[in-house]
């Protein structure tokens, strides 16, 4: 049999070598004279702990890894389009600065991914901001300090910052200065953050952490929004007292009319409920197909009202998932219990709603009213799955009996009650 691999066109060989762990790719240098530098012109360099032999001594691993990356870069020739380092072993070291300087000099790099150790946050050098062709920047556990004269990454499509130490206005300016930004993920900043987002082309937004305020000032094209909002309990109360009558729900959601998917966890529902109830919304979310809300407090009438307004503004909803959180406020007075009848538009139907999942259900009145409303207004419903909470306070049999009586608009609807 002939040697069919060595004479493959270089572009194909590079494609094959890029799919190997970089250590294996470098080892092909020994195969034959032809192969000596085939690895050295691959355009994607991905380094992680697999590059070096493991050791119980973190310092040894760090040193081996630094040596590996530095030697690889030195022997490499040609453009580098993707540079990734993922390791928890690299603490602050001057080598990282040099690698980024190296990359920024030719400034061909399009994708830069640095996921570093959590112990000591590396301050990234300012030459990072000279990488003009960046389309994809993903940073984890480091410190970022954009220089004042920085004009933005004009090609950046995707930005992800996780546990990054950076000032709030610096992030805002960074986002605003990247006109093509479509994909943004922000998680776990050191302090509680209030942030305003201006990104006219943004389509996908993910936020997780301790945010005191999120203002989507200019994100008209947003399709998918996912927020996990943590708040210390005392902050949550403090927030309520301070807030003016401006309704967060209106402020937050009415600027994203093209939303297709919305997911909120932890304190998100509570955050939206702050402020006065706006009444029926003037806009509808015609494209909103998927809503997932977790840890909603069904004993808080304001949160229930937010939920009600949201779903009755989403006529084309297809999938709805909701879970109840632990109660954070005292139980409401009984006269609030008819809000479902009062506030839901008459003859409302969910023409596309097929799947409903409710978890951590406690069987309390607002939850039952939600189930009743959904069952009665969803003519194409296929499945409704209900999982009781482990702290179920009421008699499950009572809840099931009540559920059985609810009118179902869909003759095909299956109600699946999941025991744990």
């Amino acid at each position: 049999m002939d040697d069919l691999i060595s004479d493959l066109p270089q572009s194909i060989l590079e494609s094959i070598l890029t799919r190997l762990p970089i250590r294996d790719a470098v080892k092909t240098s020994i195969l034959s004279r032809k192969w000596r530098y085939k690895w050295a012109s691959i355009t994607e360099l991905v380094f992680d702990d697999e590059c070096v032999s493991s050791s119980h001594d973190g310092n040894v691993v760090e040193q081996s890894l630094v040596k590996f990356i530095t030697r690889a870069l030195f022997l490499h020739h040609g453009p580098i389009h993707k540079f990734q380092v993922s390791t928890c072993y690299l603490q602050s070291c001057p080598d990282i600065d040099q690698w980024i300087l190296f990359l920024s000099r030719d400034s061909d790099v399009r994708e830069l991914i640095l996921k570093l150790g959590e112990d000591e946050w590396v301050r990234l050098p300012s030459c990072l901001f000279n990488c003009k062709k960046l389309t994809h920047l993903d940073l984890s556990c480091c410190e970022l300090d954009p220089p004042p004269r920085f004009k933005g990454f004009s090609c950046l499509r995707s930005l992800s910052l996780h546990r990054v130490l950076v000032a709030a206005d610096a992030i805002e300016n960074l986002i605003w200065s990247c006109p093509l930004l479509e994909n943004l993920a922000l998680s776990y900043f050191d302090d509680s953050l209030a942030i305003t987002i201006r990104a006219p082309n943004l389509k996908y937004l993910y936020m997780e952490g301790d945010f005191t305020d999120i203002f989507l000032e200019n994100t008209p094209l947003l399709l998918s929004l996912s927020v996990v909002m943590y708040m210390a309990d005392d902050v949550a109360e403090h927030f309520e007292l301070e807030q003016s009558s401006n309704c967060n729900f209106v402020k937050f959601l009415t600027r994203v009319p093209h939303l297709v998917s919305l997911a909120g966890r932890a304190y998100f529902a509570k955050y939206l409920s702050i402020g006065d109830d706006p009444g029926p919304l003037p806009i509808t979310f015609d494209h909103l197909k998927i809503i997932e809300l977790f840890e909603v407090s069904f004993e808080d009438m304001k949160e229930v009202l937010v939920l009600l307004r949201l779903i009755t503004s989403s006529p084309n909803l297809e999938e709805f998932s909701i879970s109840a959180g632990e109660s954070t406020s005292p139980a409401e007075a009984p006269d609030s219990l008819d809000i479902w009848e009062r506030e839901c538009p008459a003859d409302w139907t969910f023409k596309q709603l097929k799947v409903v999942k409710m978890t951590d259900v406690n069987g309390i009145p607002h939850e039952m009213d939600l189930v009743k409303f959904l069952l009665g207004s969803s003519p194409v419903l296929k499945t409704m799955t209900i999982s009781p909470s482990t702290y179920f306070k009421h008699d499950r049999m009572v809840m099931l009996i009540e559920l059985l009586r609810f009118r179902r608009a869909s003759s095909e609807a299956e109600i699946i009650f999941l025991q744990e």
């Binding site: 002939d2 040697d3 194909i12 190997l20 092909t28 195969l31 590996f68 690889a72």
Partner: protein, 164 residues
């Protein structure tokens, strides 16, 4: 409900046959491929746009044996309603062939610019390399190493950091 006619679908009705494109391999065999399948190949897509689709498109770099399989691959990937898992299983069977054939597929996919086939076949070759020692790789692909001992020593020194 309005009474307007239903929107035209991509699938053909019996009275309207699907457009077929004719291809000729390097050894003179002719094959027919549906337009939708042909569009998987950027090369063919360009040629169809230029309206050369009257006479069979000559493909001097691809033999009849391989072209038949490429047509099969493209047709399968243009089929509507195939779920991801079955397609993956079908792909795995498709590349379960001898080494020489995998390389023929790679070269055909490269020439015809079929990203799905190129991706699939490159993954296969990468899997053939992964985890093997240099000696095992040489043996598997029949690579003749013509290093002199000094050259080999030099390469090992240059890349010792990867062999540690």
């Amino acid at each position: 409900m309005s009474s307007s006619p239903p929107p035209s679908s991509a699938a053909a009705s019996p009275s309207c046959p699907k457009k077929m494109i004719a291809l000729r391999s390097s050894d003179g065999e002719t094959f027919e491929i549906e337009e939708a399948a042909a569009l998987q190949s950027k090369t063919l897509e360009n040629m169809i746009d230029e309206d050369c689709a009257g006479t069979p498109i000559p493909l001097p770099n691809v033999t009849g044996k391989i072209l038949a399989k490429v047509v099969e691959f493209c047709s399968k990937h243009a089929e509507p309603g195939v779920d991801d898992e079955s397609l993956r299983a079908w792909d795995a069977e498709f590349v379960n062939v001898e080494q020489a054939t995998v390389f023929d597929y790679i070269l055909a996919a490269n020439f015809l610019e079929i990203p799905t086939l190129l991706n699939l076949t490159c993954n296969v070759v990468a899997d053939m390399i992964r985890g093997k020692t240099p000696d095992e790789i040489r043996k598997f692909f029949n690579i003749k190493s013509i290093f002199s001992p000094e050259e080999e020593e030099e390469v090992r020194r240059e890349n010792h950091w990867a062999f540690e």
